[in-house]
Symmetry: C2
Amino acid sequence: MSATHPDGTGDASGTEGDAALDPRQLGAYFVLTEAVSLLQHQVEQQLQAEGDLSYVQFQLLARLAHAPGHLTMTQLADGVVYSRSGLTYQAGLLEKAGLITRSPSPDDERATLVTITDGGRALVARLLPGHVQVTRRMLFDPLSDDDLHHLGDIMTRVRDHMRAQPPRSAAPRKRRPKPPAPPPA
Amino acid sequence: MSATHPDGTGDASGTEGDAALDPRQLGAYFVLTEAVSLLQHQVEQQLQAEGDLSYVQFQLLARLAHAPGHLTMTQLADGVVYSRSGLTYQAGLLEKAGLITRSPSPDDERATLVTITDGGRALVARLLPGHVQVTRRMLFDPLSDDDLHHLGDIMTRVRDHMRAQPPRSAAPRKRRPKPPAPPPA
DNA sequence: TATTGTTATACTCTATAACTATA
DNA sequence: TATAGTTATAGAGTATAACAATA
């Protein structure tokens, strides 16, 4: 976190070739993220309080509960974004809690099949009403049927658009290469 | 979280006393959180790559940049949700990076006034175009003017509704009380 | 006594790289 | 060689509680 070149040149405004967001877009963006952040916070509170689960853990369980059969680790990770090791960590916790089981796949010996247990299903079932209640109270109470329709429609298009986006080479700088330190002795 | 279908277990539906979400609401909710999660991830990547800032840090700086004068720690924390100590931690990082300064308030000797430095403003200015570009590419490209209007309107109402919500006593269980261990000897 | 902010500490989570084993 | 998953480890972030200073 370095304030690289703090040269005070006001280069924020649209002189860069790429058009900037207009105020309405910026406003919509800010209010969207703010609202979702508030919602997420409440949801996390509820899941933690009633089920001792983090949001990610709930997502993983819900995903498994909705899936037809088993999922491999990779399939399970897909869409929950983070690294393999992160999933291994969470799966370890969930397995220790008796909410899922892991077993080798018969099709591909490298793969691990993840299965939700009855306990896992029960927990999801137990948490879902409260989850839904929070969501409704926070998100849907102020919305009309028409709003709901619009919101679902809009965000579906946005989501599909996002999913279709290529990984985008536009990541200009890699974190920091960090030369490998020579091993001692 | 595939937005689409509700769920096979059926235990979400209204047998609990409180009305459950209907499939369309559930779908809208899932797709909303999924889309925002994807967006946030991209935004975080960009801020990290181009400015070595976390999203929270950027939010804090942006908040300061927009504020008329100084903000106290408490004012700054408000809306970014987390604990005082968390803010102190982040403020420490930002101050060390020369992006903000902290000074005692003349009005209230207990309070600390946070001020964004020129370097901080410059950094925000430098990051904003890319930030905006990611946001536009991910969020606004697939949206019409009409969509944008609806989205802003809807989420503003949602946000206001959320902000107006009382802290809600409905937090049934506190984390875990954990009895204080008696100090040894 | 209540409030503002800091500190100390413990814990959770995520990411990177090295590793094993299968394909 | 590439892929699936795990492990080790390090780092960032957050929360809790105890604390000091001020209102």
